[in-house]
Symmetry: C2
Subunit: 124 residues, 2 copies
Protein backbone atom coordinates (compact mmCIF):
# COMPACT_ATOMS: atom_id res chain seq x y z
CA UNK A 1 0.00 0.00 0.00
CA UNK A 2 1.52 3.22 -1.13
CA UNK A 3 1.91 5.92 1.46
CA UNK A 4 1.54 3.68 4.45
CA UNK A 5 1.18 6.62 6.78
CA UNK A 6 -1.71 7.86 4.72
CA UNK A 7 -3.79 4.76 4.90
CA UNK A 8 -7.13 4.90 3.25
CA UNK A 9 -9.76 2.28 3.73
CA UNK A 10 -11.46 3.25 0.54
CA UNK A 11 -11.52 0.29 -1.83
CA UNK A 12 -11.14 2.58 -4.77
CA UNK A 13 -8.04 4.19 -3.37
CA UNK A 14 -6.54 0.86 -2.41
CA UNK A 15 -7.15 -0.57 -5.84
CA UNK A 16 -5.72 2.50 -7.50
CA UNK A 17 -2.63 2.15 -5.35
CA UNK A 18 -2.11 -1.17 -7.06
CA UNK A 19 -3.17 -0.51 -10.63
CA UNK A 20 -3.97 3.16 -10.88
CA UNK A 21 -1.51 4.17 -13.51
CA UNK A 22 -1.89 4.22 -17.23
CA UNK A 23 0.84 1.77 -18.11
CA UNK A 24 -0.23 -0.88 -15.66
CA UNK A 25 -3.74 -0.81 -17.01
CA UNK A 26 -2.50 -0.98 -20.59
CA UNK A 27 -0.33 -3.97 -19.80
CA UNK A 28 -3.33 -5.63 -18.17
CA UNK A 29 -5.33 -4.91 -21.30
CA UNK A 30 -2.74 -6.61 -23.43
CA UNK A 31 -2.72 -9.60 -21.11
CA UNK A 32 -6.48 -9.87 -21.44
CA UNK A 33 -6.03 -9.69 -25.18
CA UNK A 34 -3.80 -12.73 -24.99
CA UNK A 35 -0.38 -11.21 -25.27
CA UNK A 36 2.13 -13.16 -23.24
CA UNK A 37 5.59 -12.15 -24.26
CA UNK A 38 7.71 -9.12 -23.66
CA UNK A 39 8.07 -8.24 -27.33
CA UNK A 40 4.35 -8.53 -27.84
CA UNK A 41 3.71 -5.90 -25.18
CA UNK A 42 6.40 -3.75 -26.73
CA UNK A 43 4.52 -3.96 -30.00
CA UNK A 44 1.36 -2.30 -28.76
CA UNK A 45 0.62 0.98 -30.45
CA UNK A 46 0.99 3.05 -27.31
CA UNK A 47 4.71 2.44 -27.35
CA UNK A 48 5.64 1.49 -23.82
CA UNK A 49 9.27 1.87 -22.94
CA UNK A 50 11.29 -1.18 -22.07
CA UNK A 51 12.08 -0.05 -18.58
CA UNK A 52 8.45 0.73 -17.84
CA UNK A 53 7.30 -2.59 -19.22
CA UNK A 54 9.82 -4.54 -17.20
CA UNK A 55 8.88 -2.58 -14.13
CA UNK A 56 5.17 -3.09 -14.53
CA UNK A 57 5.46 -6.78 -15.23
CA UNK A 58 7.55 -7.17 -12.10
CA UNK A 59 5.04 -5.26 -10.05
CA UNK A 60 2.10 -7.17 -11.40
CA UNK A 61 3.86 -10.41 -10.58
CA UNK A 62 4.69 -9.23 -7.09
CA UNK A 63 1.07 -8.34 -6.51
CA UNK A 64 -0.06 -11.73 -7.67
CA UNK A 65 -1.90 -10.48 -10.73
CA UNK A 66 0.27 -12.38 -13.20
CA UNK A 67 2.59 -15.29 -13.22
CA UNK A 68 5.46 -16.08 -15.49
CA UNK A 69 6.56 -19.34 -16.99
CA UNK A 70 9.56 -20.09 -19.19
CA UNK A 71 8.83 -20.69 -22.85
CA UNK A 72 12.40 -21.41 -23.84
CA UNK A 73 15.49 -22.87 -22.30
CA UNK A 74 16.80 -19.37 -22.29
CA UNK A 75 16.36 -18.53 -18.71
CA UNK A 76 15.29 -15.00 -19.34
CA UNK A 77 12.53 -15.83 -21.76
CA UNK A 78 9.25 -15.80 -19.93
CA UNK A 79 5.69 -15.70 -20.92
CA UNK A 80 3.25 -13.95 -18.68
CA UNK A 81 -0.31 -14.79 -17.92
CA UNK A 82 -3.02 -13.49 -15.68
CA UNK A 83 -3.74 -15.23 -12.43
CA UNK A 84 -7.24 -15.60 -11.11
CA UNK A 85 -6.67 -12.43 -9.16
CA UNK A 86 -5.58 -10.65 -12.27
CA UNK A 87 -8.48 -11.94 -14.29
CA UNK A 88 -10.88 -10.58 -11.73
CA UNK A 89 -9.95 -7.13 -12.99
CA UNK A 90 -11.84 -7.89 -16.15
CA UNK A 91 -14.89 -5.81 -15.23
CA UNK A 92 -12.68 -2.80 -14.60
CA UNK A 93 -11.05 -3.00 -18.00
CA UNK A 94 -14.38 -3.66 -19.58
CA UNK A 95 -16.00 -0.65 -17.99
CA UNK A 96 -13.14 1.51 -19.18
CA UNK A 97 -13.50 0.15 -22.68
CA UNK A 98 -17.23 0.71 -22.73
CA UNK A 99 -16.85 4.28 -21.62
CA UNK A 100 -14.32 4.88 -24.33
CA UNK A 101 -16.52 3.42 -27.02
CA UNK A 102 -19.40 5.64 -25.93
CA UNK A 103 -17.50 8.81 -25.28
CA UNK A 104 -14.37 9.02 -27.34
CA UNK A 105 -14.76 9.41 -31.05
CA UNK A 106 -12.57 7.37 -33.29
CA UNK A 107 -12.28 4.45 -30.97
CA UNK A 108 -13.24 1.02 -32.03
CA UNK A 109 -12.67 -2.54 -31.20
CA UNK A 110 -11.29 -4.73 -33.88
CA UNK A 111 -11.02 -8.41 -34.49
CA UNK A 112 -13.75 -9.75 -32.32
CA UNK A 113 -12.35 -12.46 -30.17
CA UNK A 114 -14.18 -15.71 -30.10
CA UNK A 115 -16.18 -16.56 -26.99
CA UNK A 116 -14.41 -18.61 -24.42
CA UNK A 117 -11.13 -17.58 -22.96
CA UNK A 118 -11.10 -13.88 -22.12
CA UNK A 119 -14.75 -13.82 -22.85
CA UNK A 120 -15.20 -11.30 -20.11
CA UNK A 121 -12.13 -9.36 -20.96
CA UNK A 122 -11.83 -6.14 -22.88
CA UNK A 123 -11.52 -5.97 -26.59
CA UNK A 124 -9.52 -3.45 -28.47
Amino acid sequence: MQGSDRRSNCPIACTLDLIGDRWTLLVLRDLFLGKTRYDEFLGSSEGISTNILADRLRRLETMGMIEKTPYSSHRRRMQYSLTERGRSLGPVLRAIRDWGLDNVSGTETFRQRPPGRNERGPQA
Copy 2:
Protein backbone atom coordinates in the same frame (compact mmCIF):
# COMPACT_ATOMS: atom_id res chain seq x y z
CA MET B 1 -5.21 12.98 -26.80
CA GLN B 2 -1.82 12.47 -25.27
CA GLY B 3 0.98 11.52 -27.60
CA SER B 4 -0.77 12.55 -30.75
CA ASP B 5 1.87 10.93 -32.92
CA ARG B 6 1.23 7.65 -31.13
CA ARG B 7 -2.43 7.50 -31.78
CA SER B 8 -4.20 4.45 -30.58
CA ASN B 9 -7.72 3.57 -31.54
CA CYS B 10 -8.13 1.38 -28.55
CA PRO B 11 -10.97 2.70 -26.40
CA ILE B 12 -9.19 1.65 -23.27
CA ALA B 13 -6.06 3.56 -24.20
CA CYS B 14 -8.03 6.63 -25.19
CA THR B 15 -9.98 6.61 -21.96
CA LEU B 16 -6.82 6.16 -19.95
CA ASP B 17 -5.30 9.11 -21.74
CA LEU B 18 -8.09 11.15 -20.19
CA ILE B 19 -8.47 9.65 -16.74
CA GLY B 20 -5.78 7.06 -16.35
CA ASP B 21 -3.99 8.46 -13.36
CA ARG B 22 -4.57 7.88 -9.72
CA TRP B 23 -5.39 11.42 -8.71
CA THR B 24 -7.90 12.02 -11.44
CA LEU B 25 -9.77 8.91 -10.50
CA LEU B 26 -9.71 9.82 -6.83
CA VAL B 27 -11.07 13.28 -7.56
CA LEU B 28 -13.81 11.67 -9.63
CA ARG B 29 -14.59 9.38 -6.72
CA ASP B 30 -14.99 12.35 -4.44
CA LEU B 31 -17.25 14.05 -6.93
CA PHE B 32 -19.42 10.96 -7.06
CA LEU B 33 -19.50 11.01 -3.28
CA GLY B 34 -20.93 14.48 -3.40
CA LYS B 35 -17.92 16.59 -2.65
CA THR B 36 -18.08 19.87 -4.51
CA ARG B 37 -15.59 22.24 -3.01
CA TYR B 38 -11.85 22.53 -3.15
CA ASP B 39 -11.36 22.13 0.58
CA GLU B 40 -13.55 19.08 0.62
CA PHE B 41 -11.31 17.36 -1.90
CA LEU B 42 -8.29 18.43 0.10
CA GLY B 43 -9.82 16.71 3.10
CA SER B 44 -9.82 13.24 1.61
CA SER B 45 -7.59 10.82 3.43
CA GLU B 46 -5.28 10.25 0.48
CA GLY B 47 -3.88 13.74 0.91
CA ILE B 48 -3.81 15.25 -2.53
CA SER B 49 -1.53 18.23 -2.97
CA THR B 50 -3.06 21.57 -3.78
CA ASN B 51 -1.27 21.90 -7.07
CA ILE B 52 -2.34 18.46 -8.18
CA LEU B 53 -5.93 19.10 -7.16
CA ALA B 54 -6.08 22.38 -9.00
CA ASP B 55 -4.53 20.77 -12.02
CA ARG B 56 -6.91 17.85 -12.07
CA LEU B 57 -9.99 19.97 -11.60
CA ARG B 58 -8.87 22.15 -14.47
CA ARG B 59 -8.30 19.17 -16.70
CA LEU B 60 -11.58 17.56 -15.82
CA GLU B 61 -13.35 20.78 -16.64
CA THR B 62 -11.50 21.12 -19.92
CA MET B 63 -12.52 17.60 -20.85
CA GLY B 64 -16.14 18.32 -20.06
CA MET B 65 -16.37 15.90 -17.18
CA ILE B 66 -17.18 18.55 -14.61
CA GLU B 67 -18.49 22.06 -14.53
CA LYS B 68 -17.96 24.76 -11.99
CA THR B 69 -20.36 27.30 -10.58
CA PRO B 70 -19.75 30.09 -8.08
CA TYR B 71 -21.07 29.51 -4.59
CA SER B 72 -20.00 32.85 -3.22
CA SER B 73 -19.54 36.35 -4.47
CA HIS B 74 -15.84 35.68 -4.07
CA ARG B 75 -14.92 35.11 -7.62
CA ARG B 76 -12.52 32.31 -6.90
CA ARG B 77 -14.93 30.24 -4.89
CA MET B 78 -16.32 27.56 -7.09
CA GLN B 79 -18.15 24.39 -6.55
CA TYR B 80 -17.65 21.57 -8.94
CA SER B 81 -20.08 19.01 -10.16
CA LEU B 82 -20.09 16.16 -12.61
CA THR B 83 -21.56 16.66 -16.04
CA GLU B 84 -23.48 13.94 -17.75
CA ARG B 85 -20.27 12.92 -19.41
CA GLY B 86 -18.54 12.71 -16.10
CA ARG B 87 -21.36 10.78 -14.52
CA SER B 88 -21.11 8.20 -17.24
CA LEU B 89 -17.85 7.14 -15.65
CA GLY B 90 -19.83 5.69 -12.78
CA PRO B 91 -19.49 2.09 -13.92
CA VAL B 92 -15.72 2.47 -14.07
CA LEU B 93 -15.46 3.74 -10.53
CA ARG B 94 -17.90 1.12 -9.40
CA ALA B 95 -15.94 -1.71 -10.97
CA ILE B 96 -12.79 -0.45 -9.31
CA ARG B 97 -14.55 -0.31 -5.98
CA ASP B 98 -15.97 -3.76 -6.32
CA TRP B 99 -12.58 -5.21 -7.15
CA GLY B 100 -11.10 -3.55 -4.12
CA LEU B 101 -13.80 -4.84 -1.82
CA ASP B 102 -13.23 -8.36 -3.08
CA ASN B 103 -9.47 -8.34 -3.30
CA VAL B 104 -7.97 -5.92 -0.86
CA SER B 105 -8.28 -6.69 2.80
CA GLY B 106 -9.18 -3.91 5.12
CA THR B 107 -11.26 -2.01 2.66
CA GLU B 108 -14.81 -1.15 3.36
CA THR B 109 -17.46 1.23 2.38
CA PHE B 110 -18.97 3.39 5.04
CA ARG B 111 -22.09 5.41 5.35
CA GLN B 112 -24.25 3.84 2.74
CA ARG B 113 -25.64 6.54 0.58
CA PRO B 114 -29.36 6.59 0.07
CA PRO B 115 -30.66 5.48 -3.32
CA GLY B 116 -31.28 8.15 -5.82
CA ARG B 117 -28.62 10.61 -6.75
CA ASN B 118 -25.29 8.84 -7.25
CA GLU B 119 -27.14 5.62 -7.08
CA ARG B 120 -24.85 4.25 -9.69
CA GLY B 121 -21.77 5.83 -8.29
CA PRO B 122 -19.10 4.34 -6.09
CA GLN B 123 -19.28 4.22 -2.37
CA ALA B 124 -16.36 4.52 -0.08
